[in-house]
């Protein structure tokens, strides 16, 4: 690792808490964590209970959710891009988002779910169908020996199938259900709460074993035959990576809706910074993903205050120009 890389990594590590702090300091109400700390240190220890509740119940869970969801999407993205050897792959390539969308649409429009869970019907349904979509994808790919191409093509097929299902449900939906569904499909973090954060932590935990595959992924980048000769089983690695990342992403997506682009973009940005050695690439991607989603959510919450934009819109609108700029500026080949 060159000095420059270390410097950039340090910057990222410092930027994350900073953006979380800024994000917690901005909102409709003029309250901030700093103000709370100052108030509690003041002689009479008078902390405004409303300020405290805003920070603790509204802003902190949301900020943490952005960090964790961003990191999970980015790790899943880098692992899948690596194991499938394709720069266009994102966590949603396996059909996770379209499966989740279909599950949510079923719950919203028809009120039916595989598991009857009342208030959490939409979430549970989205989760179950996200996993279902992944298993169908992997099941089809298995028939063709689990090659990178077969996984991607199967994923695309499954994605179209579930998307068609969503379109059909939109067609039969009543106007209110349609509006609710459209909001869900745009993906945002406003649903963040301490309760839901517990599941997000679970998603992060699911991602941890993926780091063990860093070396296998490096080897896999040289091609299946080369990987085999170096003792890595390509299809085993692929299945393990796909299952773990799909599980983690499903947990996130069932709570936030499909937030696009982070999982595609964060790994590429990370490659620009640290190159394509997965041992460094994975943690860097996670950091960048967390940073991107936190920033995007900050923009989404504040740009049209008090109206909130769906964060998915912001990630695309602001992420794409940034991404294209970096892509054009860099001279060396970033893929491989």
């Amino acid at each position: 690792m060159s000095k420059r890389r270390v410097f950039v990594l340090m910057l990222l590590v410092l930027a994350l808490p900073l953006i979380v702090f800024i994000s917690m300091s901005v909102g409709v109400l003029p309250v901030s964590p700093l103000g709370l700390i100052l108030a509690s240190l003041s002689p009479n220890h008078e902390v405004n209970p409303v300020a405290w509740a805003v920070i603790w119940y509204l802003r902190l869970p949301r900020a943490l959710m952005a960090v964790m969801a961003g990191a999970v999407l980015a790790i899943a993205g880098v692992v899948l891009q690596g194991s499938l050897r394709n720069p266009l792959v994102s966590p949603f390539t396996l059909g996770v988002s379209s499966g989740a969308s279909f599950g949510a649409a079923l719950a919203i429009v028809l009120g039916v779910g595989i598991v009857g869970m009342g208030a959490y019907l939409i979430m549970a349904n989205a989760f179950v169908f996200a996993l279902l979509a992944t298993f169908i994808t992997l099941g089809i790919a298995r028939l063709r020996g689990m090659t990178a191409e077969s996984v991607i093509l199967a994923g695309i097929a499954v994605m179209y199938m579930f998307s068609a299902g969503v379109t059909l449900l939109q067609y039969v939906a009543r106007e209110w259900e349609l509006t609710e569904l459209v909001y869900w499909l745009m993906g945002d973090l406003s649903k963040a709460s301490w309760h839901r954060l517990r599941y997000t932590v679970l998603a992060v935990i699911v991602c941890i074993p993926l780091f063990k595959f860093a070396w296998d992924l490096n080897v896999l980048m040289m091609g299946d035959d080369a990987a085999k000769s170096l003792g890595t089983d390509p299809s085993m690695t692929r299945v393990a990576c796909a299952c773990l990342s799909a599980l983690a992403v499903s947990i996130v997506v069932c709570m936030t809706g499909p937030i696009g682009f982070i999982g595609l973009m964060a790994p590429h940005l990370a490659r620009l910074v640290v190159g394509s050695d997965h041992r460094f690439l994975m943690p860097t991607s996670a950091l960048i993903g967390a940073l991107l989603l936190s920033t995007a959510d900050l923009v989404a919450r504040t740009i049209m205050m008090p109206l909130e934009l769906p964060v998915g819109v912001v990630t695309a609108f602001f992420g794409v120009p940034l991404f294209v700029h970096l892509l054009l500026r860099t001279r060396r080949e970033i893929w491989r």
Binding site: G27, V28, L29, V50, A53, V54, W56, Y57, L58, A119, Y120, I122, Y171, V172, A173, R174, E175, W176, T179, E180, Y183, D188, S190, K191, S193, H195, M305, P306, L307, E308, P310
Partner: protein, 361 residues
């Protein structure tokens, strides 16, 4: 043996101590609670109601500050003469001519919790189904803000919901007067319609904002058509908003065609020129083959502008307009325009203006 006695004695002593400790802390806690909480609790009267979601909600009474997360709720409160209790409103309602100039708190599908908290409401009023409790009640709970769920957009529950709202605002007299007036209009129309013989009912094709998208069961329009005595030719469609073919409409041969135009296409309240409506009307009567339809032959194709008419008591005005279009002789003495004027000027406090139906006589 000795040891055992000793231990059991200690246990008893410990037990006594623990009970004493609990007793002391309960008393202390109660005293503390009385000292800190009691004054704020007794400062304001409360009332417990059952809202349209079937939940018991205890709220400060009379309610003095309301965030209306729906256009329907905001409009109803204005009609009750309590405009000044609204402290927060949705982005959609804020653009209406009758709306109070207060803080915008997002929409009913994505409310901004901080904005709601910032205006310190006694209650938030929203639909029965939206937003989900985990997105609203759960988040407002730390701030002690209660949510009352009232739909106010369905004619069958409108009057009872308005009554409850009037009670919350302590405006029972105004509420009574308002309900009596509109219920009178509503019952006048529905009772006359109920005496219509089935063979005298007219067949209606109702087209929504989108071309060839009709209304089916479960839609608000279908219900209004039924109340107005019309036979919606797509009342048995498998979906709420069926997309139909030109051929099928010709085959059904409706006696009346109604087309709804959205506010974004044509703002009826501020309109002075009816050319856009005329163009829409012409595009319908000139659809190929439609000159075979009775409605077109007899000049019974009408454009209805939806703005302002689709919320709260506007529904009754809308019902009156449609009933009169379907049965002009049965409702010869009914004057929808007068009802509309009353609604806008006397209820909402804005001048009666605009173009709402085309062709207008």
């Amino acid at each position: 043996m000795f040891k055992k006695c000793y231990r059991s004695a200690m246990t008893r002593l410990e037990g006594v101590l623990i009970i004493a400790l609990i007793a002391v802390s309960v008393v202390a806690g109660y005293a503390w609670y009385m000292a800190t909480m009691a004054p704020t609790v007794s400062a304001r009267q409360t009332i417990t109601i059952v809202d349209s979601a079937g939940r018991y909600v205890t709220v400060p009474w009379p309610v003095k500050r309301v965030v209306a997360l729906t256009t329907d709720a905001a409009m109803t409160i204005v009609a009750l003469g309590a405009k000044d209790v609204i402290v927060g409103i949705t982005k959609y309602a804020a653009s209406e001519p009758w709306a109070p100039n207060v803080t915008v708190v997002g929409s009913s599908f994505s409310p901004n919790i901080e904005a709601i908290v910032s205006v310190k409401p006694d209650i938030v009023i929203t639909y029965v189904r939206w937003p989900k409790p985990e997105d609203l009640e759960e988040k407002l709970e730390p701030f002690g803000i209660k949510v009352v769920r009232l739909d106010l957009y369905k004619i069958e529950t409108l009057f009872s919901e308005v009554k409850l709202l009037g009670l919350l605002l302590n405006r029972t007299e105004e509420t009574e007067a308002l309900i009596n007036y509109w219920k009178g209009v509503y019952e006048n129309i529905t009772s006359r319609v109920s005496e219509l013989a089935p063979e005298n009912k007219v067949k209606v094709y109702f087209e929504t904002y989108t071309d060839f998208k009709a209304v089916g069961p479960g839609s608000g329009w279908d219900q209004i058509l039924r109340l107005a005595g019309g036979i919606n030719i797509y009342a048995d469609a498998p979906v709420t908003y069926p997309v139909v073919t030109s051929e099928d409409v010709i085959n059904e041969n409706p006696e009346v065609i109604l087309k709804a135009v959205s506010t974004s296409k044509f703002d009826p309240y501020n309109a002075t020129d009816d050319t856009p409506l005329k163009q829409i009307w012409e595009s319908i009567v000139n659809r190929s083959g439609w000159n075979q339809i009775d409605a077109v032959k007899n000049g019974r194709v009408y454009i209805i502008c939806a703005g302002l008419l689709h919320d709260s008591f506007g529904l009754v005005v809308e019902l009156a307009y449609i009933a009169k279009l379907l049965y002009p002789s049965l409702f010869a003495d009914l004057d929808p325009k007068e009802l509309h004027r009353h609604f806008l000027e006397d209820n909402l406090g804005i001048p009666y203006a605009g173009i709402w139906i085309y062709p207008h006589e």
